[in-house]
Symmetry: D3
Subunit: 242 residues, 6 copies
């Protein structure tokens, strides 16, 4: 039995609130149960040095947690003067995942920065950030088209992410904090709408996992991501109409 009472293949309640803040070109609050992340997409009409003059745009991501988004207060990274290794690992993952769905040349020489800030953490913040970040990215692209900066969307696929794991011997979907701490294996999966993998990151916490366990987890991820993509499309449709 899962601590939350959910079925092994059941996602938490998923909410995507578009236009959550007013300044960003795209903004979304994404909730995976009690995990809440604000994702904003900011357009900058410049590219990093390594891309200057190459006719290509860039998508990058930054990630942060409010100090008291967690059970006990964490040090503020700005006050400590550096980002933790975990933070850098997550923001690199978000950036890579979203770039996999974008034709950077079609974007033109501009950068879209996806900021993912965790307001409340209850497990799965990086998968929520990727899922919400994709929606924020689409909203920012909508604005670029509306403002006639680009003619067609450079976003050629849909990206979503979910965690899977093995909890008390049972493969489960979308781990919350209570499960995450006691899971034997934890895997974050990022997929596109063709059902192919963009990232697979599995870590054995307690005991190493066999090939059949890996396959069971990937089946769950596939099911969960299909549901998340439906939620993303719903949210975008509503935002575009509204």
């Amino acid at each position: 039995m899962r601590p939350s009472g959910r079925q092994p293949d059941q996602l938490r309640n998923i909410t995507l609130t578009c236009h959550y803040t007013k300044h960003a070109e795209g903004s979304v609050q994404v909730e995976f149960g009690d995990t809440r992340v604000i994702c904003t997409a900011s357009v900058d009409e410049r590219v990093p040095g390594f891309l200057k003059g190459k006719g290509s745009g860039w998508i990058t991501a930054e990630y942060g947690m409010l100090p008291r988004s967690t059970h006990s207060r964490m040090d503020r990274e700005a006050a400590r003067g550096k980002q933790a290794g975990r933070t850098q690992e997550i923001q690199r993952l978000i950036g890579r995942s979203l770039r996999a769905a974008v034709d950077l040349t079609a974007l033109g020489e501009r950068t879209i920065t996806i900021d993912c800030d965790v307001i409340q953490a209850d497990g799965g913040t990086r998968t929520a950030a990727i899922t919400g970040g994709f929606v924020a990215l689409c909203l920012a692209v909508d604005k670029l088209i509306k403002n006639r900066k680009i003619k067609a969307s450079p976003v050629h696929g849909q990206i979503a992410s979910v965690s899977v794991g093995i909890h008390q011997g049972v493969p489960v979907l979308d781990l919350d904090y209570a499960e995450d701490g006691s899971a034997e294996t934890d895997m974050n999966v990022v997929m596109n709408d063709a059902g192919a993998f963009v990232e697979v990151q599995g870590t054995a916490e307690g005991h190493a996992f066999r090939r059949d366990e890996l396959n069971a987890m990937l089946d769950l991820a596939d099911k969960g991501i299909t549901e998340l993509m439906a939620k993303q499309r719903e949210a975008l449709d509503a935002a575009r109409k509204g």
Copy 2:
């Protein structure tokens, strides 16, 4: 005429949403119009080195802005590796202001950290942070009493804050971003419920201000803070009942 159409002595819509996040001992989202700040109060059963063994508690504050809380995206302070001078100035102000209402000895040897994170900025973030931070502090103290860590509240006064300024020659209350940029003088006032001043910080932006202008601004601040304190009491009453 003010850009917002408000009267010179009129506050923006003020909202205080208690228990905004679930982990912190006290948490509030405070809105001064479009300015939104999440304030959390976290209790730590330790004190900083300079207070160890002295029988006194401590109240401190940290302040941050989400990178895209502003019109154009700011650099993330955690990524730049240091907090700006403005950030440090504001968090020192919040901490001093709230300590003015607390008997630190009665608090006992523990620290309450008030984190104020700006989700959306539209002028007056520091005054909103002090006003909301006071409510978060009270909620955290409620919890300490409920958990029998302390018997009576060490909070002996009420603290709120508002900005005043001179805009197009007219003294006005609670400047928003549109006014802030063009104000000739900007003053942040922190008062207690006895109507006395805890902090007065006035800066001539355009031209220096005379004594009569100072007095007109302080009258406005007095009126605004009285109204903010009513809002604080309402919010705390509702949270304590609810």
Copy 3:
């Protein structure tokens, strides 16, 4: 009775020694009693990035304390690898205060940096720095005129600063270290030669201050600043003749 035996409205001995060091375009040692600060003004024929090509100059300030300028040795900020929040707050205050007296467009596209380094601290270092920094600024402007970089002085007013406070219930002028630690309220006031306020920063240390106390302190500040401005003019006159 004040620890120093001074009258409530009496300044400490004020000394301004022009041309204190030989390399800077302007340099002054300012003494407020035992508080000694070296102020230098350095001209750089460039402006910060945000002003490039806008036809405006810039005045900025930096502040530091020698590690043993204080009763017990402080860590050297260069060795700790960052400036304290207090340091940043003070240097921002000095810069803002001096800019209030300068027509930045008339200065032309150049920067004057005022370095204020405390050799010996005995209370009121920031007010001494502003008062001495103004003199160093004028000397550097004299040099720009002499070297035909500019035709007329862009300095259109006079700036000085003093602290006031309430000590044992009595409003007093120009607090020294012995008073500063036990004052109930501490206020730094920056004024111009028209008698208007450029900065008012009052902090209740012990108990909040009432409007009548605020007014008594501002009266003292006005008197003290008038005297400081006479000292500044004397020092500048002597330096210009000498």
Copy 4:
């Protein structure tokens, strides 16, 4: 055809030189073709703060590259003043992977730090580091047993790692630099001697990978790691005899 002329399932020449330096408790130079990494294991009779008094030991890893281990010179991280995100990600991976093979309670309250420094980079430095780091760890444990600090080895499994990928549509084993840059998919796999997965980290560089491609890559990884483990046992046997 692979740039190196290797078969798709063929490892590069693998060399493990034990006792490569004299001070460390365990030291190895590992070569995967032209990739050369020095791995040392250092024993410290203390544990990090979060483990003090808990009866558990710790294994951690640090990773670095000599500035000119690469085709063009990289900045030295010590001179830049911080470790890149990639560096932190790799050292976290090495540490997690090796901890999966060690009973930390049986290790006792001490830390073994695995330093992996890349002398020459030609692709696959992190997999070489894990494979060589495991051997250095075993040598350090041998020394602890020899010096009667512990009675039996806390290492309960064998760990090795290899990269796999899809190059020009073909799944290949142990990518070198020439392949790495042009691979469509890159996956690092860490396994134990029971044939189970400790880490699986796959990233689609060019196009997302399907489940059948994932399976083909995992088959190759399994074959490669079996061969690497034979090399590890050979090297350890020789070092223990020699």
Copy 5:
């Protein structure tokens, strides 16, 4: 001919002003011509971690330059967030040199920190700092004896320092800034009152120096240091009487 008109073996005017500031246990302003350095000695009743419980004291030094002590303004190291290599090299040299004259065990478990801050630079700041730092150290030791913290002085020798060089083919003593920039060789020498060397640091700037040139420079250093030591004794005698 030297730019200053001095003889090759002639020091600049040397002044040592004891008790230059009031808080430090020992303080001196040292002038070598236009080079002015404030040296303070601060006693701390603790030792660094590596000496705890070993019955030994410690002497250490820190060095800094006011940003406008030089011809053109340098960046403030506290603002840049780190000390330059040159700064660290100099403060290590000062510390080593002064430790050579002190019996650290007789000092007891306390640290004396010598802060050397350059107010005005005109060549030879490090040799002035060592020469003045020695006097500040002696004054601080006097205070320890007077306060009955130690019975006898742990200072068992006298230390002074001067620069020598080869300027336009001629060996010269005590280089000023004008000579320093064009000298072919620059050497800093630290000696004790037995005429032996504590530090010799010679650097060929233009052309390498032969053994006979080295000897000529060392002869000059010997002469200069003898004179500096007389100045030190005079200053200490006056301070001890006064």
Copy 6:
């Protein structure tokens, strides 16, 4: 008797292995007994800001130690976020020493960076780094000539370095770690092939050294450096033949 059994004027076994790594324009492993340092020379077709457009090239050096190159593990400087004072002092010394043998104008507007990374430390790492760094520099210059970037070598002299000291009252050559810790005096000498000094850095560790002791040490350095230069020429000859 020396701990190693060597004669007072005897160097350790010296080995210079050219082309030690494959990417750098010049690379050498230098061994002074058990001290092993990898020296690489990297050519960059740019110069630092202060040399731009001046028609001059630049030679600079960086130095590092692998964390476990030493008896007990040192902190990794990249992880600590800054280079120690000792590191900066050494890399400044290496750069200055090598620049003394190069006509920077003849080098053209390019920079050669010498990275010296200590794999195993047993005393004398800085002198080994200079001696090996010179060879790496020559190999990189060979490549520039071969690639027709420059016509003739800008290296106009030969540079090598050795340490000397006084151990148990006896002047000795090329101190190893066992001697270094107990030496009364330690001196690093850098000379050119004309027998003149480029750097002389002597430090009294235990007791100050007299002029006759200095001379005895310099005689030993002269002998040792002559032998090291023969080794450098041999290694370069062999490498050039191929």
